[in-house]
């Protein structure tokens, strides 16, 4: 709303823009602005169906017809297809306009089944709303309506009712334009036109749920929400998805104290309203029967029995104080927690307990000093039109799907050039500017060659043309962002760091965007749940009031903790929502550590493999059940809000920490969430100016950009393993649908978890004389042999073998060994 709304005070001359008249008022539009947007901005709502501000207008529905006069007399024109031109006169209320609206709605309703009472959209349906507000009220159509089979499943998650469809092209446009999965389309002609999938291909997109949200009628409905509630018995809060680290803004909706739906909220900074199906549907896990509902303790007979909070807390505290030397205690996890809970646990363990063996990453991350210390880019900066993005990590579509949508938009529509340095070609396909998929272990060399301009000859099978394109882009003066994660769990992080160092040498202005995927992992690092740091990236030598017992020397990371457990120098393990037995990259190491550990204390929401091996189990409240704050991969804060009550006696993690402190005779110094926030603001650089009440409510939360007290030293020297002419190098990465707890505990998502197969480059595949699905014997450098089905995978460079982590039928965990720079395999037909 601006002063230009007022017809008496026309826009000042200085304001650049396009003058036009809307319903008699003299207004100004932005250059090139669509009439429908300009009207909305000035408070005039033009009814529409097919127009969506995040997609190309197509003019399919004609609902937005308004009377426009550009000097040749008034005529009806679709306002979603028309940019405002100087001195255009627009009337959205004239008789011809309302007659057109009546006509469009009467025609749309001719074939509409009007089964609103059984339709999931009923009550929040744009067709209902527009029919009431702009429709004729009566229909002259008495004939039989068109009939189709009632909802047909077009994927495991989405149902299509073609009778209700008004052919607005939103879903189909989303699928091809936004998601890049053009799996649904219009078929047939005339009155028989319908949306449908291609024969034998279901609409299996990671983003299918968005079509349900944007369908302006109830033609597309979501299986998990089907008949679960009606709009008028939903209660909702705005929150942030904690499924991955993108921090997509969501509306969390409940009915009868159960989470029943999550909808995307449009945030300019992050998700633009879109969600992946994991962010959208994984709320189902909240309701799982596997939830922990009461504290459990192992009795003398070795059985887990339920107990009271008091007893469980006492036992946990006793185990920690018995350890005598804090170096005998290890702590894993913390990425599931909210920022406040992370601070509380960090203060309990480090500030009061002098423990520094704490790691929120489970061997699948990057060193904290790198992540905290590199100059950060925001998503918007990375996607800046005309920029260059270097992808040094896994396929973002699998690990950070909403970030993928932003990047895809930047590449498709904003001229962003993508240099792909991931170990396996990503979902960007042919739209990448340069495809450099190095063999595991070679990415440091590759980056160094780019930095030095040694691009004349092929490196490790990568064509000189690709190399010189990448080299040219890096030095072109265009802004460069490196998106960095762990693209390959079978490659040591030092190799990734060496590549970062070389890229920084190639272009000193380069910015970085972390692609660590675990929920609130960036908050965990920021709050000090990582060895060697106090909150805010402050070193252990900094004296924080209230943190008097802070450790003096740097502790162990996750791999170090588990190795110490194996060799007996560490015997007590605290799990903060971590399941190392299933989730730590090196499964053999994790299993061996659990064999020897003395006491395991687990603060968790589910009975996972590791939790069921614990001696004390403290049930925590999960997403949707506790208030808090989230920090996304940009360092942006946004709110996480409670909507339902935690089952049984589950409590927010920070409260558990305060109880532990009290039971140990200490005091964390806070009793409310407000207190925790005040203390974070006082102790953590970068948080002092955060206004938790108003900043977090804002559409794009505040960015925390603390001034670090150290400069990152990146080493370009990493152990480069010698090539083995007979072996293949292993690539292990993640799929969206994996055996993570949120997926396995969501009834609708569990069936989507696939079987792991071994992928080989087409050249290697035919060299071995295999045909698709054949079993092969895989021998790992260590000597173990596994039998796996193999397929040809044209995303892999020659000499690499790929297996996804945590899928069914093959445990990729048992292929990995922590600390090895790369893993070599021998593959033989069975």
């Amino acid at each position: 709303m601006t002063a230009t709304e007022n017809p008496e005070s026309p826009a000042p001359e200085a304001e650049p823009g396009v003058p036009f008249t809307l319903n008699g008022s003299e207004l100004t539009a932005k250059a090139g602005e669509l009439l429908i947007d300009a009207a909305q901005r000035h408070g005039v709502h033009i009814p529409h169906f097919c127009y969506h501000p995040r997609m190309t207008p197509v003019g399919m529905c004609r609902m937005c017809l308004v009377e426009v006069d550009t000097g040749r007399g008034p005529a009806l024109q679709p306002s979603c297809m028309l940019s405002v031109t100087p001195n255009m006169k627009v009337n959205t209320e004239s008789e011809p306009t309302t007659r057109a609206q009546d006509g469009v709605l009467e025609l749309l309703l001719i074939n509409h089944p009007l089964d609103c009472p059984v339709c999931d959209k009923g009550g929040e349906c744009p067709l209902q709303d527009n029919a009431y507000a702009f429709g004729p009220g009566e229909s002259r159509f008495v004939e039989e309506k068109r009939h189709y089979e009632k909802p047909i499943p077009i994927s495991d998650l989405v149902l299509l009712d073609r009778e209700r469809c008004i052919l607005c092209d939103r879903c189909t446009r989303f699928a091809s334009e936004v998601a890049g999965d053009p799996l649904i389309h219009f078929i047939d002609r005339g009155a028989q036109t319908q949306v449908n999938t291609f024969p034998e291909h279901e609409f299996s997109s990671y983003f299918s749920g968005n079509t349900v949200q944007i369908c302006p009628v109830g033609a597309l409905t979501a299986q998990p929400y089907r008949f679960a509630a009606r709009p008028w018995d939903l209660a909702e809060v705005e929150s942030t998805s904690m499924v991955d680290s993108t921090g997509a803004r969501v509306a969390v909706q409940s009915s009868q104290d159960r989470l029943v739906r999550i909808q995307g909220v449009d945030s300019d900074a992050t998700n633009w309203g879109w969600l992946s199906d994991k962010e959208r549907f994984a709320y189902e896990a909240t309701d799982s029967t596997e939830r922990l509902t009461q504290p459990l303790m192992r009795n003398d007979a070795g059985e887990l029995v339920s107990t009271r909070w008091n007893g469980a807390i006492k036992r946990a505290v006793a185990a920690l104080t018995d350890a005598a030397d804090p170096r005998r205690i290890g702590v894993l996890g913390g990425a599931r927690l909210t920022l406040e809970s992370q601070y509380a646990w960090a203060k309990l363990l480090k500030g009061l307990g002098a423990v520094d063996n704490i790691d929120a990453q489970l061997g699948d991350g990057l060193p904290a000093d790198i992540v905290l210390g590199l100059p950060r880019a925001t998503i918007a900066e990375a996607c800046e039109p005309g920029g260059v993005v270097v992808l040094l990590g896994a396929d973002p579509k699998e690990e950070l799907p909403t970030l993928y949508l932003r990047l895809r938009h930047a590449v498709q529509f904003d001229g962003v050039a993508l240099i792909e340095m991931s170990p396996r070609a990503t979902s960007f396909g042919d739209s990448v500017a340069a495809r450099l998929n190095p063999l595991p272990g070679a990415v440091g060399h590759l980056a160094a060659a780019l930095a030095e301009g040694m691009v004349g000859t092929s490196i490790g099978g990568i064509a000189p043309a690709q190399l010189s394109t990448a080299h040219r882009l890096l030095g072109s003066g265009r802004p460069v962002t490196v998106i960095v994660g762990r693209g390959n769990l079978a490659e040591s992080p030092e190799i990734v760091v060496s590549a970062l160092a070389a890229l920084r040498r190639a272009n000193p202005d380069v910015r970085f965007l972390s692609a660590l995927r675990r929920g609130n992992v960036h908050g965990a690092l920021e709050m000090g749940l990582t060895p060697g740091f106090l909150p805010g990236g402050q070193g252990l030598d900094v004296e924080l009031p209230g943190w008097e017992m802070a450790p003096q020397s740097r502790g162990l990371d996750a791999t170090g903790i588990l190795k110490s457990a194996v060799n007996g120098t560490l015997d007590t393990l605290v799990l903060l929502g971590a399941d190392p037995l299933e989730d730590f990259a090196d499964g053999t190491l994790a299993a061996a550590a659990f064999e020897r550990l003395g006491t395991v204390i687990s603060v968790d929401t589910f009975m996972t493999a590791s939790t069921s091996a614990a001696d004390v189990i403290l049930p925590a409240a999960m997403f949707g059940e506790a208030d808090g704050t989230f920090m996304n991969l940009e360092g942006r804060l946004s709110p996480v809000r409670a909507k339902v009550t935690a089952p049984g006696q589950g409590r927010p993690d920070w409260m558990i920490a305060t109880d532990m402190a009290a039971a140990a005779g200490g005091d964390l110094g806070f009793t409310t969430l407000h207190d925790v926030r005040a203390e974070i603001a006082a102790r953590v650089p970068g948080f002092a100016d955060i206004d938790w009440a108003s900043d977090l409510g804002a559409e794009d939360g505040p960015l925390v950009r603390p001034l670090r007290t150290w400069t990152v030293s990146l080493s370009e020297t990493a152990p480069i393993p010698p090539a083995d002419d007979y072996g293949l190098r292993l690539v292990v990465d993640r799929k969206l649908w994996d055996n993570g707890t949120m997926v396995t505990e969501s009834g609708s998502l569990r069936p989507l978890i696939g079987d792991a197969v071994l992928g080989l480059s087409p050249a290697d595949f035919s060299r071995l004389g295999l045909s698709s699905g054949d079993d092969v014997d895989v021998t790992i450098a260590g000597g173990e042999t596994h039998t796996v089905a193999a397929v040809s995978d044209n995303r892999l460079p020659v000499g690499a073998a790929h297996i996804p982590f945590a899928l069914n039928s093959v445990r990729a965990q048992s292929f990995l060994s922590a600390g090895e720079p790369v893993i070599e395999l021998r593959v033989r037909p069975s």
């Binding site: 059984v118 009550g123 909802p151 008949f227 509630a229 009606r230 008028w232």
Partner: protein, 230 residues
Amino acid sequence: MGYFEGFAVTLKKWGEGVTTKEYRGGRTDRKGHISDKDQKSPKPERLHGRHVLNRYEDGMEKCIGCELCAGVCPARCIYVRGKDNPADEPKSPGERYGFVYEINYLRCIHCDLCVEACPTEAITETKLFEFSFTNRSDAIYTKDELLVGDDGRPQNLPWEDWREGDDRDTSGWMRATSPSGRASYLGTPSWSGELGYGVRSGDLAQTAKDASSTERSSHDDDDDEHGGHH
């Protein structure tokens, strides 16, 4: 000390005897004594009483679990959950049926707004007003209790006083507005066929003049003289 005064009230009331009268149908004679005839009081034709969930002639439930009644209820006493109709044994026509349906009679004000809202004429109110309960769970009527039986007649629960003829006219004609939702509608609304009754003829028309001249033809109604609109 104050609580002894409370006991004093109890002690004072001790000898006063019981004032609660035994329920005998509710009809009293002019002097206020319970009559021997044990009859119910006559009630207006459109009295709003205990609800029923109706069925179609083929026995299918009319309720589709749409929650419109729950949404409109000013007392917030209806709880409905919908579910996919089982393909092999559908409970109602179409995709959806109400698999939970509860009315809490400790809260219901018998306003009939649920009946107005229902798109399928599934929920209607009988004239039964003589029901009372001694615990909360009896007061919350479940779907099993509300649904009409195999003969289309309401179920008689132990704490309800049903008499001969009470279980007729439990639906259909009680709705005040026309199906198109316009209060000014003057035509004759019609109703879908119903288990135990078949297809009824149209409702009484909506004006007072029409009301006196229109005959309902499906059955005789000996209480007609008590009828009326309100």
